[in-house]
């Protein structure tokens, strides 16, 4: 047997092993602790504000009382609008990239575009939405402008997740359909898409979970400080949870009095966002169990 050189004796190896383990485990625990702290902090401060009327009523008395119903509704509407924007575009691009595209300058350009779009700060999307949708297209600050802006924000993530889901459907499905006389598009629409769709939707919903809590993209494009009525068209402004929190915490004369409302709104937003992720996780788990390829 070869003799271990100085510095390589078993004892030293065990020591290094222990030190390494200590550091990586500490990092893990720290990450979990941060998460737990945020959760406990928000729940602790927000839970007292939450009641049935808080969730179902309009704000009152300069927002120091009443509920946040229009903000919850607004966030949900904007989220839905963002999905309706990002899904056709993102799924379309993903189908092109995964099913049709052959390596070349066009594909490289699309990939570069998608990758760069993902790195653009959300406030830039907000300004872009303001310039294009609100002003140039004349949609004003509205559900439409906000949905389009949020939709563009999640577009790269939606595209990337959808492409991945398409690539995971077995090549053999496509071969089988083509060999039975299907055209390329028939094979995609009838066989590949149904198989990939749950995965594609999961990706879209996860992306949305992130975007639903964003403030910057909607602050110039969609959100009102205060609305009295339910929105009756896509050209109306809406309140949203994220911008509501921002307004209460930074504007006006009642910053201290509205602390409970601020934390209550933050808690509701957190639950909504986690709820969306949970939906995505459940779909994914169902999908994993149901599929045998």
């Amino acid at each position: 047997m070869l003799k271990a050189q100085k510095g390589y004796e078993p004892k030293r190896r065990y020591l290094r092993e222990k030190i390494a383990l200590f550091f990586v485990r500490s990092s893990g625990i720290f990450t979990m602790a941060v998460m737990a702290f945020i959760l406990i902090y928000i729940v602790g401060h927000g839970i007292s504000a939450i009641s049935f009327s808080f969730l179902t009523e309009f704000p009152k008395d300069n927002m120091t009382a009443g509920g946040i119903f229009p903000a919850i509704l607004g966030t949900l509407i904007l989220a839905l609008g963002a999905l309706l924007t990002a899904i056709p575009l993102g799924f379309g691009a993903a189908i092109y990239l995964a099913e049709y595209a052959r390596p070349g300058p066009l594909v490289s350009a699309i990939r570069l575009g998608v990758a760069n779009l993902a790195g653009v700060p959300s406030v830039v999307f907000g300004l872009f939405g303001l310039a294009l949708f609100v002003t140039e297209f004349g949609f004003g600050r509205s559900i439409l402008s906000g949905s389009l802006t949020l939709g563009l924000l999640i577009l790269p993530t939606v595209t990337a997740a959808a492409e991945e889901a398409l690539r995971q459907t077995p090549q053999s499905f496509r071969e089988a359909a083509l060999a039975l006389g299907a055209s390329r598009w028939q094979a995609i629409r009838q066989v590949v898409l149904p198989a990939a769709l749950p995965g594609m939707l999961t990706g879209a919903i996860l992306a949305l979970g992130r975007a639903a809590g964003e403030t910057a993209p909607i602050i110039f494009t969609a959100s009102a400080a205060y609305t009295l009525a339910m929105p009756d068209s896509v050209f109306r402004e809406v309140m949203a949870l994220s911008t509501h929190i921002l307004n209460l915490a930074t504007n006006g004369t009642h910053i201290e009095e509205t602390r409970p409302q601020q934390f209550g709104s933050a808690l509701v937003l957190l639950i909504l966002v986690l709820g969306l992720s949970l939906v995505a996780i459940i779909i994914r788990a169902k999908l994993k169990r149901g599929r045998k390829w």
Partner: protein, 254 residues
Amino acid sequence: MVEEKKEKVIIRAKNVDFYYGDFHALKNISLDCMEKEVTAMIGPSGCGKSTFLKLLNRMNDFVPGARLSGEVTISGESIYGPNADPVDIRRRVGMVFQRPNPFPKSIYDNITYGPKLIGIKKPDLDVIVERALKAAALWDEVKDLLNKSALELSGGQQQRVCIARALALEPDILLMDEPTSALDPIATSKVEEWIKTAELSIVIVTHNMQQAARISDKTAFFFLGELIEFGPTLELFTRPRESKTENYITGRFG
């Protein structure tokens, strides 16, 4: 196995060369398959068997950079000519793949996929499903499970669903690429049994020589992209003309 059949050429390949980009995958292949016969293709892996099979239903069209020269006719019509329609060819020439690849749909929807593509509707579809499953010797096992997902069947049953799915279009020819290599012995013998009794022209790739000997009328031996020897199965296995064939069937390489 070799009782007299009406000798009529159904597939004719003449001086076929095939390239994947610069790679010369098939070299000057000429071969005739007879109607209602089983033609087996054997040879070491990578010798071009699948390539040859896939050019018979133009599945090679989807490979970027693939190129063919020479002539391939089916029932006398050129399938690479200017008037040939690849989709139409794939309906006339069915294909069964190496791994069973049913769609993640019900058995019924699997079988009716091809017929629905050409606009066939409900009452007729039921008839087609029954006939195709009977032809694939699977009807008795699944007739009460038609709405069950095909993925829940055993491997051998899945492969017969794939056979039935191909048969539903009533093709003249069925191409099979190592259709039993992913199956256990019992499932294999069911599929082999089916091949032997099928009233159909079949071209089957196999790297199991015993299987070729058991089920085929003619055997073609490929080696490094060339067709080394082609003839009646019994002759090829008992009195090979070429030394390469003899070396291969006696297991000296491959």
